[in-house]
Amino acid sequence: MIAFGQFLEVLIGGLMSGVLYSLVALGFVLIFKASGVFNYAQGAMVLLAGLALVRALDLLVANGFPLWVAVVLAIGFAAVIMAATAWLIERFVIGPLVNQDALTLFMSTIGVTFVIEGVAEMIFGSDVYPLRLFPTDAWFLFEGLFPGGILVNKLDVWGALIAGILVGGLAIFFQRTKTGRALRAVADDHLAAHSVGIPISWIWFVVWLVAGLVALVAATVWGTKLGVQFSITFLALKALPVLIIGGLTSIPGAIVGGLIVGAGEKIAEVYLGPSIGGGIEYWFAYVLALAVLLVRPQGLFGERIIERI
């Protein structure tokens, strides 16, 4: 029973941290769906959003604003920053590079990553800034069933809740609004969408904006967990296997992929790690993605890849 309780605790912890990976992966999927760009800069965008948020918040609180006003203003400020970033990227990088091959676009987003990291750290500073928007203590569940109960982090629950709301909101946005439908049209075939009068560059701006806002949401949760710091940008790399497992074009896939990666790597770390030296969290997700690719190249939920000559 103790073993099972521990397994459950590891599983829940893993699933919850998987949700956090999903938050980053969501931004990737949005941009990939709409413009075929594999956006390496998503991690840097999380960093930028987090830094803008936490610095504005600190400044406002220090100037005597009540906390809830400060939070609202700071989130608004960060959202404006993300909008500006989206506009600049669309206008100066992705727009001019339209119709280039995927590799060139991917490399250009790495260039964008460097710029965002440099600018963000130059303006907002490069220390670790603690962010406290959500409670970080833990609950102990089922204390009657298992000795010591099962530890569940409140922050993780908040993260899951937010991810759920986000996916619901995005689903409504894509299915019900005019812009959302235009977005899907562009994702399907941007030339055809262009010819029926959908303003492509506006749509791409919206996509990058939405991805930026998703990054902001991810930043609130990750910032509370780790503090807003440079290492957040490496999340981008952790989100890649999540995407591959879930399928590059699927929003539910990003969530499910995140859950699989989160749970898988925690379980592997706890049960396999001690026998082969520990730290296998570092590569487990990638090897898992490799295995999934060999069986299902399009990922679990991705659209089938059809090729014609």
């Binding site: 590799l103 060139t104 490399m107 130059m122 591959i244 296998i280 570092y282 060999l294």
Partner: protein, 375 residues
């Protein structure tokens, strides 16, 4: 006026298919090779400007040569065969650590089977080349997924190699001969009795490796194998239909590319760094190599050299320039500015010339041919 082909008649197929069919190209190359092999060592030995100190040799030329070699390897895979790889850094690491293990002696105790595999320490040259072969073997292994997946999906698959080997060399003490700090020291560079110590000797050693492997690579991509790679790159299904075996073409590309990258990694560890940690071959190295290949020009051996020079030198310049100009900036600001300028420069180059410096050079040659007429 100088760059004219007029009067250069080709009377045999062999002349027509030569590596450098134009006489001026041959002369230019001969001058370049002469400078590299004779001029630079001479200047460096007598400490004539710009080789007053060893800085230029150590900090720029040596890493340039080795990274150019690694870029050639990456270019074979990414530029010629069209398989995107984010794992080049890992293959450099495999080359370096295999060479290290072979040069210090391998001992694998197989207690359960009742015997142990023991290889005595090998000479340096043999271990560098075997390190390359080891890297080629692992390259083939991680190339197998490329038969089913391609493009950016494959890139993520090669990330698995990158992170797995980063971890392995950091966490498994066997690879570092149980060194407590996790860093390893290269053995003495003894080539058949000639010990390579000074920067000039190290430079010449790397130059030799780079020249031999670059000529090899250039000839491979001109031949049957290289054409198979390019056919796969341009459209794999069509290539398969005309009788090219994807298995053979893709895996040979992985093998040749990983071999060259592995040798470059071994040189990086043995000749340039001397002692190193796994961090020397992280994901940043892979991204750098990919940048070199793309900025230099996909599918161009010369482009690999130019790309390597660009990616290596620009950050150094950006770092040195503010102090040289006397701008009062803190080191932190300089680092950030360096990031910003480097990133913007990359975006700018990708937008202005997505085919890299190699394309610029071929445009330049066309213009030179017609000069002084516009067309």
């Amino acid at each position: 006026m100088l760059y004219r082909e007029a009067g250069q008649f080709k009377t045999t197929y062999a002349e027509d298919m030569a590596i450098f069919p134009i006489r001026q190209d041959r002369i230019a190359l001969a001058i370049l090779v002469g400078i590299a092999f004779i001029g630079v060592p001479l200047l460096a030995t007598f400490h004539v400007w710009p080789f007053g100190s060893d800085y230029l040799l150590w900090a720029i030329l040596l890493p340039f040569l080795i990274l150019a070699l690694a870029a050639i390897g990456t270019n074979i895979l990414v530029g010629y065969c069209g398989q995107i790889s984010l794992g080049s850094g890992a293959f450099m690491a495999i080359g370096a650590y295999s060479a290290y293990k072979l040069a210090t002696g391998v001992h694998i105790p197989l207690a359960s089977l009742g015997f142990a595999i023991a290889i005595p320490p090998l000479p340096v040259l043999a271990s560098i080349l075997l390190g390359g072969l080891m890297s080629a073997g692992v390259g083939i292994l991680f190339g197998i997924p490329s038969l089913r997946i391609k493009g950016l999906y494959l890139a993520v698959a090669t990330l698995a190699a990158q992170f797995f080997f980063d971890w392995a060399f950091l966490r498994l003490p066997w690879f570092t001969n149980y060194a407590p700090s996790g860093s390893v020291n290269a053995p003495e560079l003894d080539f058949f009795g000639v010990v390579v110590r000074t920067p000039v000797e190290r430079y010449l050693l790397c130059l030799l490796f780079v020249t031999v492997l670059a000529v090899l690579a250039k000839n491979l991509v001109r031949g049957n194998l290289g054409r198979q790679w390019m056919a796969i790159r341009d459209m794999d299904i069509a290539a398969e239909l005309i009788g090219i075996r994807p298995l053979y073409a893709k895996l040979t590309a992985f093998a040749v590319s990983s071999f060259i990258i592995g040798v470059a990694g071994a040189l990086w560890g043995f000749v340039y760094l001397g002692s190193w940690e796994p961090l020397a071959f992280s994901i940043e190295r892979s991204l750098d190599l990919l940048f070199m290949v793309i900025i230099g020009g996909l599918g161009s051996i010369m482009g690999s050299f130019i790309g390597a020079a660009f990616i290596l030198i620009v950050p150094i310049l950006l770092n040195v320039l503010p102090t040289e100009l006397g701008l009062p900036l803190s080191t932190q600001t300089i680092t950030h500015l360096q990031f910003i300028i480097f990133g913007s420069l990359i975006c700018y180059l990708l937008i202005k010339e997505p085919h890299g410096f190699a394309r610029l050079i071929s445009i330049g040659k066309e213009k030179l041919r017609l000069w002084p007429f516009p067309y």
